[in-house]
Point group: C2
Chain length 198, copies 2
């Protein structure tokens, strides 16, 4: 007989362990937090989950988080410039920099054959549909400069170029505040290759 | 105007960030998992939280998790030997070793002046009440060998000894499978001090 098994606790631990990057031990700690906390806390948590799932939608145009059919950014900024990113949090990161005034397109993933993510699994077709309307002047590919991000950017570039749209890739080089001596070879190579005239 | 703020998403992120060891970025990733998952997943998660909060109780005798008034361990094993631990997961750890046949007492914390945890904030009075019934022969202090665990063990020892009960502390020394050369000074000192005759 297992003297320490409690079904409802196991179920909650199991739910927590489905979260990204959470293992059995961490999930157990989260579950312990819930059962030792107040009833109001647990109810607030459960309600927040249901409310977010119910109210948070995705913009039918760009795929970013939205609480309406179309997000505020798409409503205000039009289709002239579209910045393509992997996830909604990338939109937040760029918006925080207060430097970009165009629209976005959120792919919700990058092409990754090892994880069985094919081009059809991310929102590339939706991007092409937007570009094909003829209002777009430039598509900025702002996926991360890792293997999947690079491959996705190259793939999208090949699909967008035939529409006569300017396709650009975010610059790669040394990050602000870092030391040159600690930069990796790939970053240094790109920083030198893409040097700009002053 | 903040173009990326969505109240219900912020609320869920905030709830996740209350979990132990979870910061704003990790909480945001968890919230993203919820809102991009299926409705059934979100509902299952919310239900698991409420069910665990409702059904998981604490044994009125030992303080361990229980789905009834008294846990199965207390019902079966009596009060002769009581092993005192910090948290329910410590009970699970010891039970997994299949080596201990006595009961437990879960303190739900250790004395920690820096975090404002005083002796009255953890279940020490409940332990003394059990011991004072006169059925207990031995109290094993199995709090962790860190500053708080040691202080708590010493404090409890001073309270339990007057009842004429044998008070023991779990052994400290080298962990199985570790290399002696990597052991810290305190562990080595204790391993030598508490050496046993073969």
């Amino acid at each position: 007989m297992d003297t320490t098994k409690i079904d409802s606790l196991d179920r909650l631990t199991n739910e927590f362990s489905k979260l990204p990057g959470v293992g059995k031990k961490t999930a157990g700690r989260y579950a312990y937090y819930i059962v030792t906390g107040s009833l109001a806390q647990a109810q607030g948590f459960a309600e927040a989950i249901l409310e977010a799932k119910e109210k948070v939608k995705f913009c039918s145009n760009c795929g970013n988080f939205a609480d309406a059919e179309v997000c505020p950014i798409c409503k205000q900024r039009g289709e002239q410039t579209i910045c393509v990113v992997k996830e909604p949090k990338d939109v937040m990161a760029i918006e925080k920099a207060h430097t970009y005034n165009g629209s976005y397109h959120v792919l919700h993933g990058t092409i990754n054959p090892l994880a069985n993510v094919a081009p059809k699994d991310i929102k590339i077709a939706e991007l092409i549909a937007r570009v094909s309307k003829g209002q777009t002047k430039e598509v900025i590919l702002a996926t991360s400069p890792d293997v999947e991000g690079e491959a996705t950017a190259m793939y999208i570039a090949s699909l967008v170029k035939p529409y006569g749209v300017k396709v650009t890739r975010i610059a790669q080089g040394l990050a602000a505040g870092t030391q040159l001596e600690f930069a990796d070879e790939v970053t240094l190579t790109r920083a030198l290759r893409d040097r700009i005239q002053l």
